[in-house]
Amino acid sequence: MKSAKKFKLSNMSDTNLLLTITIVVFFLMYIGAMLFQGKGFLKAQTFFNILNANAALIITACGMSLVMITGGIDISVGGVAALVSMCCAVYLDYHGGNVFGAVLIALGIGLAFGIVQGLLVAYLDIQPFIVSLAGMFFARGMTTIVNTAPFNVANEAFIAVKETRVTVPGFGSYNKLGKYVPAYVEIGVIVALLVVILLFCMLRYMKVGRNFYAVGGNSQSALMLGINVRRTRFLSHLICSLLAGVGGFVYFMHVGSGSASHAMGMEMNAIASSIIGGTMLTGGVGNIIGTFFGVLSLSTIQNIVSSAGLDQAWWTGITIAAMLCIFLVVQSVVMARKKKALG
């Protein structure tokens, strides 16, 4: 038995190993929630609600993972998302714009942040933490300049898009009035799944995807292999900010309002999700599917804590801290054992 396990461990790549841990933990947790919390978690819609609430986080966390794989970090994503939500809200409400225009604004803001931050990080060799810290302050400040007061968007075309529900056949349930309620996801979830699949394929099958791992793993040897390190770094920040723009728009679709306090702390949740998902801050290791499950794990634990009646806010924080700790320890133990096995 033991030898079989060792064989398996040593046969898997670091990324796949961490991914497996994440997925197993997520399912154990969810099944635990089903067994102990009962009622709510047994319904499929509870799971879809987790997706609905976290579509934006999934998208931004995917971008975050990409940057982290190349060894960088981007803490401006929450600010960018807030700026996008406010700009889109103002454009749709005061200037009577259409939804397509709002999407373009979201992408434009994301691209602009990506280009500036990417250039500063990749070509001027400034620490990504500092660059994105400045980016974060700038984005939050700009959001307040665009509009101080939070407000609802009344644009009909936008509300129609926002209210669109994609029903998932076969998972509906009866509410207490005896009415059948079909299970549904919001459009944002579809966007998030597309992003996950696209990024997964890019990292797995495309040369540029493998470059990200090479640069994050060891930029010196990547350079010697003829990989354009600067361009790869630039690209990772560009994609990350672009996804922050997309995530901001999905967030905006979820809440339907613009506010300077939107997406507060989203960058930290994105980092936590990536880490839970098996991405390493040191770079070179990570997986988009893991990030996806990382977000789900984070949200499930929040859900469990809050519905367990531990109503004080700090319990959520403490649980997440404990969970991060456990993940990090498990990750390092497993990696150490594997190294030993390879010996």
Partner: protein, 370 residues
Amino acid sequence: MNGLKSIVKHLEKGVMVIAAAAVSMFILTACSASGQSPVKDSSPEAETEGEKEADADKSADQLVVVGFSQLGAESDWRSAHSQSIRSELTPENGFQLLFEDGQQKQTNQIMAIRTFIQREVDAIALAPVTESGWDSVLSEAKEAGIPVILVDRRVDVSDENLFECWIGSDFELEGKKATQWLHQYTESIDYPQDQLHVVNIQGTIGSSAQIGRSKGLRQACDRYGWDLMQEVSGEFTQTKGREVMASLLRLYPDLNVVYCENDNEALGAIEAIETAGREPGLDLLGGQILILSFDGMNPEALQYAREGKIACIAECNPQHGKRLADVIRRIREGKQPEKYSYVEEEIFSGCDAIKTLTVDGKEYPVTLLQ
């Protein structure tokens, strides 16, 4: 070639893991989805049977399940508010309370309400963090037949029927009381009304308390000809209140009234005033700066009010629990509760110059702090 092979192999493994996980997940959820209501799928008689079963369940477990989404725990007032609701909606009083803290995030609150809907609670109470963006989740609750009762802050929705009723403070009246106190006090010491230079340290922009209290101040400024120099947000916190006050003192050296939209801001403002070498107090003729504040929950602020550093505090009563329990009982009995109901609120001052206030033709006694 070898490398490629191993990649393919790993890929297969990964896909297998995910597929297995997904399948187990689907089976679990599918089982539960079909297990939820096996009876209700079939004939009408079976349906009534199902309802009987549900009724039987209730008699065994008669507690009224209430989901409460609190917006956060940012101030003393908020903690007292949570405590009031928690101490009233107890099993002894016939309630089971599911309490969720939104941590100042609207998305958390939307998620909490959706969780309550999935758990099929009997009623939902919501203290919303902002006024905007609640349409869709409130209509989901309505579709599910769960009444939503708003507490404290209000929401800005297209259809008022999306919520059952609202319980809370009349923030505009609080503003009117505080300004009326200032008006009567300055009259009593013969201080000219047009010599009052007022700055407003507002609460979090867009919150009901900020909107109502700012409105009360603006009306009074228009009516009595006070000079409203600037309105700027202190976000209901002491730190921000201090920061804002310090810069206001630099900008407007002749200001003599500070209208703070909660006690925490007032505490910050007092620090800034004292640091700048000025004095907070009631002696306007002697160059002191008069401070008006709201809430009346913070012991330090109440102490300052006794000393006269804060001239008067308009109370914002956090004891919503009892009113909430009454409203839920009324809804359960099938009666229509009042759409907007206000809790009783006092006005505190350490100065006995003003005994009663007259606001909109109604008299309010001033509670003297000793």
